[in-house]
Symmetry: C2
Subunit: 227 residues, 2 copies
């Protein structure tokens, strides 16, 4: 029987899978093709937030309007570019990711995955990670009304586990994960493996920051009850 | 006659040209080909430092040794991958970069470029920027003994301008630029356009942080004498 004192709700890209930078350049390629000029670092700082919000925010930053047809083409082009990079074998689980998930399972600590990405790009990352979405709760963009920084994805993941969100830990690499965690009244754990700085994550509410899943695994007794 | 109250010494990648993320994935491709497994964010945080130091540090992080032949192959593979991305038109000047350089020239404020990159990759970025290395002092990795975070590149750039480094401003996007600036007793100005967080740059000694060259240009009177 699962232990009920805590549960882990994981973001996917940059948190369990080393895929943020490929997503960033896939978005860059898609945006360039639509004539939307945005510096790469600005894309990096928006990845992980809701795609709708992402295109809304970037339209504000560039002063260009993005219509529905253009948004659909952006999603298509991003997915195509990302999946091409994935097919080249460029995207792998982060160090310690498989071991961390195995340790939680071994300790009977419930865990789930909640990603702002769509299932069509997430599916390849889940495969790389060895996670079967028929066995583990995986909530994607397709399953909720609002993605991060709204709390819906993590709320849905907690509900799938039958777990009180206020006793859950949210693990993510981006500011949007940490804001969503706070909005859901969960505790946020930040990982540096998506390329944000530690202070950015702390200022967004991370109660603890680790380098990557391997570093979190080494320090797991700091955040979850000991055996 | 040039005004002598200050001079600007610019880093290139991530500071004037939007090329950091392409460098990062080019290094990732090169390292993967040599069987060196390093997370992308760790590569990101090392880009801009001396290539020799880079391979030394990453060997420490992975526990793998990098011999001279392997190091030469890494450099070759990185340059090939980066130049391929460049040929695809993916690398462009950052917003405001050309205008900032033009403003300095117009105000008779001396400026130079100092990059840890090699000339064979830098040359494409200089072209994109419209900088002619026969007219503007450009110091590359090839021209000094130690690259950043050693101060040699910025010292050489100041010498090329005939300017006292202690009255110069060093503009860069990475922690290595800011450390080199401090070691040279120059003032460091950090830009977010390479993907570091503001706190990382401030903790490395940046006396002021701006988003990108356009943002620095808007606030230039904060750091350089007014006309």
């Amino acid at each position: 029987m699962p232990r009920r004192d805590t549960a882990f709700l994981f973001d996917l890209d940059g948190t369990l899978v080393d895929s943020v930078y490929q997503h960033v350049l896939a978005w860059k390629e898609a945006l360039d093709a639509e004539g939307v000029n945005l510096s790469v670092w600005r894309i990096h700082r928006r990845v992980g937030m809701s795609g709708g919000l992402f295109t809304h925010v970037l339209a504000g930053e560039t002063g260009q309007t993005i219509d529905d047809a253009q948004r659909a083409r952006l999603y298509e082009a991003h997915a195509a570019a990302f999946n091409r990079l994935h097919a080249q074998g460029a995207v792998k689980p982060l160090p310690g990711a498989r071991e961390l998930l195995a340790k939680l399972t071994e300790r009977n600590i419930p865990w789930a995955i909640a990603t702002s990405g769509q299932l069509r790009t997430a599916i390849h990352n889940l495969e790389a990670l060895g996670v079967d979405p028929d066995k583990v709760p995986v909530v994607t963009r397709d399953g909720v009304r609002h993605a991060k920084p709204d709390p819906d994805l993590f709320l849905a993941a907690a509900a799938r586990l039958g777990f009180d969100i206020q006793r859950a830990l949210v693990v993510g690499d981006s500011v949007w994960d940490m804001l969503a965690a706070q909005r859901a009244r969960a505790l946020g754990i930040g990982l540096l493996s998506g390329g944000y700085g530690a202070s950015e994550l702390e200022r967004a509410g991370a109660f603890r920051v680790y380098e990557d899943p391997a570093d979190l695994l080494r320090h797991i007794d700091e955040v979850a009850s000991r055996e």
